[in-house]
Amino acid sequence: MSSDLVLNGISKQFSGQRAVDNLDLTVPSGSFFALLGPSGCGKTTTLRMIAGLEEPTTGTIRLGEQEITGLRPYKRPVNTVFQNYALFPHLDIFENVAFGLKRRGVKDFKPKVEEMLGLVELSTYGKRRPSQLSGGQQQRVALARALINRPQVLLLDEPLGALDLKLRRQMQLELKRIQTEVGITFVHVTHDQEEAMTMADTIAVMNGGVIEQMGSPAELYDLPATTFVANFLGQSNLIRATIIGQAEENITVDVHGRKVTVPLPRCRVTEGDVWMGIRPEKVFIAAAGTEQSNGSNQLRGAVVTDVSYVGVSTQYLVKLPWDQELTIFEQNTGARGTFGVGETVDLHWLPTHTFVLDADQDAHAGVEHIDDPGGAG
């Protein structure tokens, strides 16, 4: 099917600022697509332009063969689950769900509404008003009200944002299940990276009105393209380094006097200053002086400054000789020893777990907590 949603050079200028900046985006038909980014990065604005509630300053939006850039919202085969649901307070649940079908003149809407209420497990709630429902139930009504129209694209703006954590986890699985069942393209906006990772086939990471990187959750996590993505999706250790050579398929970087190898495809730049990145769980701690023979990268002479035991893993903070702290997660498999605060240790990791980013970026971009020890000192 060729009903992909394609945004081409989309910008939105509000009086004061540019909320979305020259965005290119292709959402494959039938996919669960997440638009992930911190608050204020332009996610809602992007979604509203797709829905037709906001007019792009420049650019075009296409849905399959049809250009929909200037089409009024009520003429688009697109429906929205609004951020705070926006259920009609003067209509009961049945009428809320039936609204779209009635407007399109569907005669036999009753069984369809009942079926849809069944799908979201609210069959007995048809006669109630939205205000008589809990947050989770309202969320499902909002979903049913949009989904019943079988849109080509369903837009969801932080649909789980108002729910508590437990309910949110349940609804994530539920939404994913419904999406698989109906096969409609979902564009899901969220600022919760875990939510995006669990649900989406493809994630576009958005920051400051632009897409920083797009790909499957695993791709983004394994090989982030920017420091923002490296920090926003999970955690990263970013260490200042300089590229000093290239041999066949590998780049050699100098990290404060030690040589480290990185496979060429994992390098965003191939010369000059860089950020060398490693995920905390990819680093191993060994007793000082242990020789590694498997071609691992190594940093010696680190000192353990903090140990927190969190059940499945232990989180270490270690200080490198140049005073930078790294975070390391060690699985508590029982096969390896633990280390105490003040012990001197060696760190090693595989070249294929290393990534190299342009140094012209803030190492703290996308760090969610100020005290997160992800970046360079």
Binding site: P73, Y74, N79, T80, F88, H90, F99, V120
Partner: protein
Amino acid sequence: MSAVGQLGAASAAPPAKVERSGRRFTGYLLLLPGGLWLLLFFVVPLVSLLAASLYDPNGSIESGFKMTWHFQNFVDTMADYARPFGRSLWYSLLTTLFCLLLGYPLAYAIAMKAGRWKNFMLALVIAPFFTSFLIRTLSWKLLLSDNGFVVDALKWLHILGPDGRLLATTTAVVTGLTYNFLPFMVLPLYASLERIDPRLIEAGGDLFANPFTTFRTVTLPLSMPGVVAGTLLTFIPAAGDYINAQLLGTPKQRMIGNDIQRLFSAGAYPTAAALSVTLMAAIVVLVLVYVRRAGTEELL
């Protein structure tokens, strides 16, 4: 579809019982000052008005009135004053209608489209209140006078004939009433339109309703509390008004308020009181029927 089962379990727990024995007293205490006020200045006069409507009509202020439970007062006054009575209801109905037709678009524009001019425009709506009702109506008398510019303009446009006049016509009375009560329509309408979440209107558009249908199925029903409040605040005082009919009309445009006022001044208390009570009863019945209908009707 097993995962749906989990969803059902996610529904809200029953709300916890609220401890409220202590709150009862607070409620009564808060009711007390206003309640006393109403008792003194509403219930007492109302009872004395009801009583006066049943006095012997042959009494006078000098000789005093005797309570004779003279229910015939109501029959007699209705026979004598049916026309101005009906006229009052008709004029106030017209007034309410015109106020709604003028006021709704105005309130809508202020609430939805005025942006940063909102407060300024609201101030303009209230501005007439800075002068007294009487003076405003008097100035309408000047405005509509036979050699005023409005009449001249209408004659020039051939809307009025060469001998046509505005003053002392039904048009003048209803126009004056409409002018005087328009703010009472606009303010509650504005309040209820202003409260509507703009995302509900967007949701209408998102769900295939064109702007007109969205207005009909979302905006209008949600503004019904304002419509009901506005029409009541217009209709009720308009039905009892006598200033507009007196200043802008002739005896032919006499409203029931004029008769009540005249009868009271002439000392015909029982007749005046019976007319007042009848008017009040008519309004209460009309309002009850109206509110009940507006409350249940889905309007869709």
